[in-house]
């Protein structure tokens, strides 16, 4: 009986804080920007959801590729049909661990995340540095490059001048306690 009690008490002590630290996105956006000699390409996406466990640092998000909005509708069509093949690969995902943050500190902090990014069906290990802030929930922001080649995204030769090989991705998340 004694062992029971010890087990339950220990479990409660260790596990409770872990359980109560789950956060969900209430606002999120992912955008990308690519600069090329002929044309700058930019698109924004708010069809993004994420979860974060502040106790373990575990973080994950899912981006719906068809949610990317372009200023040029034809470009949006080509992005989905030709580059991202969004019927085949409708989602991009990230799953990893955030480190270097302090939930009790105020102001902006530097944090970094390490994990697996899946885009266009290709998974790559990535390490991204970003900003972390405890303010009206949690805020996270990061800007990082993605090489199209790393994710098997083909650019036809005839288009090579129009699209850069590397795009700059900006993510912005606001999390609230679940």
């Amino acid at each position: 009986m004694k062992t029971y009690i010890i087990a339950i008490v220990l479990w409660t002590v260790v596990a409770t804080p872990l359980c109560g630290q789950s956060y969900r996105t209430v606002e999120s956006s992912v955008s990308f920007y690519s600069s090329a000699p002929l044309e700058d390409i930019k698109a924004d996406n708010e069809e993004v959801i994420g979860v974060f466990n502040a106790a373990t640092g575990a973080i994950a998000f899912v981006v719906q590729i068809k949610g990317f909005q372009f200023a040029k509708s034809l470009m949006q069509q080509h992005f989905n049909e030709n580059f991202m093949e969004s019927d085949k690969y409708p989602r991009a995902t990230f799953e990893g661990r955030l480190s270097g943050y302090n939930l009790n500190a105020s102001g902006k902090q530097d944090a970094s995340v390490k994990g697996k990014m899946t885009i266009h069906g290709v998974t790559r290990e990535m390490e991204i540095d970003g900003e972390f802030e405890v303010k009206d929930g949690l805020k996270m922001k990061a800007v990082f490059p993605i090489e199209l080649e790393d994710h098997d995204i083909d650019i036809p030769k005839i288009l090579f001048q129009k699209i850069a090989e590397e795009v700059e991705v900006t993510v912005n998340f606001t999390f609230k306690k679940d």
Binding site: T3, N53, S73, H78, N80, R91, T93, P156, L159
Partner: protein
Amino acid sequence: MTVRKLLKSTNAFLLLFLLGIGTVWGQDDLLEELQKDVQPLDEKVSGTFKGTRLINGHTVETRGKGNLDFIISHRFGRLNSGSYNFFGLDEAHIRLGLEYAFDDRLTVGVGRNSFLKVYDGFVKYRILNQQEGSVNIPVSLVWFSNMSNKTFKRPDLPMTFERRLAYAHQLLVARKFSERLSLQVSPTYIHQNLVPTRQDDNDLAAIGMGGRFKLTSRTSLNAEYYYRINPSNDNYYNVVAIGFDIETGGHVFQLHLTNAQAMTETGFIPATTGNFWDGDVHFGFNITRSFQLKEKGKAW
């Protein structure tokens, strides 16, 4: 060993503890949980066809607001006209067209075709867009109306303005069945103010059928056929066409073989003189260049 004994052992303590922690660590598989929470988007099906033309006729494709398409179309002479005419390439007819999308549904276009010196203007309106999601729309539906002015002079007949005009109206119905396969049916009504003989009917009903099969993400194979329901002149044939599309960003290149030489609906549907199966086949191409004049959410 009884269950009670097992639980009493220190091993049981460790087991229970790890089990408890395990359920918490289990939440680390956040991504899998998250995937279930994704709300499906209302998906308007886009890219039913690559171009606004299947081969000769229009597809259900309309461009987004503020897009200007410049279309250059060519039809060469007949392949069976022999080596002296370089298999038809010596003779070329061209249509230049400009088409502007006032919004995502409405496109207005004008063109000039060197074959019979035809000026044409059209209005194309998207009534329905195929969609999946909370509202399910199985097909795209587009209205197309065209008026053409054939300015070719005839010494035998004074060509008044009324005599030069012809009209085509079409209801374009298409469905993208899969990433690769799209099919279209186009009921068509054509009225020509002037027909070749008194026996010819001024009104013609026809039904267009066609489709595309995507070979790669940027190329597709197309076919198109117009069946005339009430043909009144034996010298004319139904239009048959096979084509190949290549798309490269802002351009669509369409290469095709067809028995029609006219490049407007009022020409190729009622008055195609070539018999495809006898080798009266014209090589042709359409090149479309898209310009975004007005961007979404931006003023001029």
